[in-house]
């Protein structure tokens, strides 16, 4: 699938109707989502035929992108039932097979390393301090091959458009600079590869 085609399909997904500030809910735009998954697949082979988990999936954009790029199985995890409802509908509309689980990431009970790749756009930690680190910590325990994550810090080419969703955004649209990170989990000692 071409990048443009992927971006276009993701652009049709429904997003949060009433985003919750305390959960730092905002959509992962099709521009950034398509490029994240395209990189993961074409540069690193981390998506097609793999088991992919989308942590803090929200309306399911990253998971949907993974499925569209040939992930064998996608699991979306989020704490909020409304988002999961939208994510389920998005998956159905695109005829994608995605399993969803409602859970608080910091309490996730998960066995072993069946999941190959975790993709995520975690909360930045502006509302609940350290939220992004919590997500990273769990992701690295769950993924056996790679974790792709967006974090706010330095200025790079990847920019993130946040339309004025919340009242306290003064400007109409706020660009937040984010970095895409690829983490590779360490294998635990004594584990047979």
């Amino acid at each position: 699938m071409k990048l443009k085609q992927l971006e276009c399909l993701l652009g049709h997904l429904q997003q949060f109707s009433n985003p919750k500030v305390e959960l730092e809910q905002y959509p992962t735009g099709p521009h950034i989502a398509s490029r994240l998954l395209y990189t993961a697949e074409n540069s690193f082979d981390d998506i097609s035929n793999k088991v992919v988990a989308d942590f803090g999936c929200g309306c399911g954009t990253l998971g949907a992108a993974a499925a569209l790029l040939g992930a064998e199985q996608v699991i979306g995890i989020d704490i909020d039932s409304q988002s999961l409802g939208i994510a389920s509908m998005n998956a159905e509309n695109l005829e994608l097979d995605i399993d969803f689980v409602q859970c608080d990431i910091s309490n996730l009970g998960w066995r072993g390393q069946i999941v190959d790749t975790v993709v995520m756009n975690p909360p930045f930690g502006t509302r609940k301090k350290g939220a992004d680190i919590d997500f990273l910590f769990v992701a690295l325990k769950v993924a056996s091959e790679a974790v792709y994550s967006l974090h706010k810090t330095s200025t790079r080419d990847l920019r993130f458009d946040v339309p004025q969703l919340y009242k306290f955004h003064k400007k109409k649209e706020v660009d937040i600079a984010v970095d895409l990170w690829r983490f590779v989990p360490k294998r635990s000692r004594g584990e047979n590869s």
Binding site: D97, V101, Q102, G109, R111
Partner: protein, 124 residues
């Protein structure tokens, strides 16, 4: 929720030593066909907890899987086995029901295929 996902989920309630596997209570199972991928099945097979998986498939109403995990060599040539493995792993969905913590008996409801694993305050 497919059995592949069930094979990864465990109960993380405070005090529980081994929350895996979650027992399944079935109210509604739905079958959805998906294309088979033999290589994927061969790769995932060693990562599956077979006992949990075959027990779960039986509860979901599918009795074709052997109780003991077969030798990996079976997956190389036995297409019939691969088809059954594929069917149980990826085509059976628990739509309505519950997942039950094996130690505390606490039920995590499953609605519209989505398990709710949120813990109460006293379980964290």
């Amino acid at each position: 929720m497919r059995l592949l996902t069930h094979n990864m989920l465990s109960s993380n309630i405070k005090g529980v030593t081994n929350g895996f596997p979650l027992r399944i209570e079935v109210e509604k199972v739905v079958e959805k066909e998906v294309e088979i991928n033999h290589d994927f099945l061969r790769n995932i097979f060693p990562k599956i907890d077979w006992k949990a998986f075959s027990d779960a498939s039986r509860i979901m109403g599918y009795v074709e899987l052997p109780e003991e995990a077969p030798e990996p060599s079976v997956l190389e040539s036995d297409l019939e086995f691969l088809r059954k493995f594929h069917h149980a792993l990826l085509e059976l969905h628990l739509e309505e029901g519950a997942l039950v913590c094996p130690e505390t008996g606490r039920k995590f409801p499953v609605n519209k295929g989505i398990p709710n694993m949120l813990l109460h305050e006293d379980e964290v």
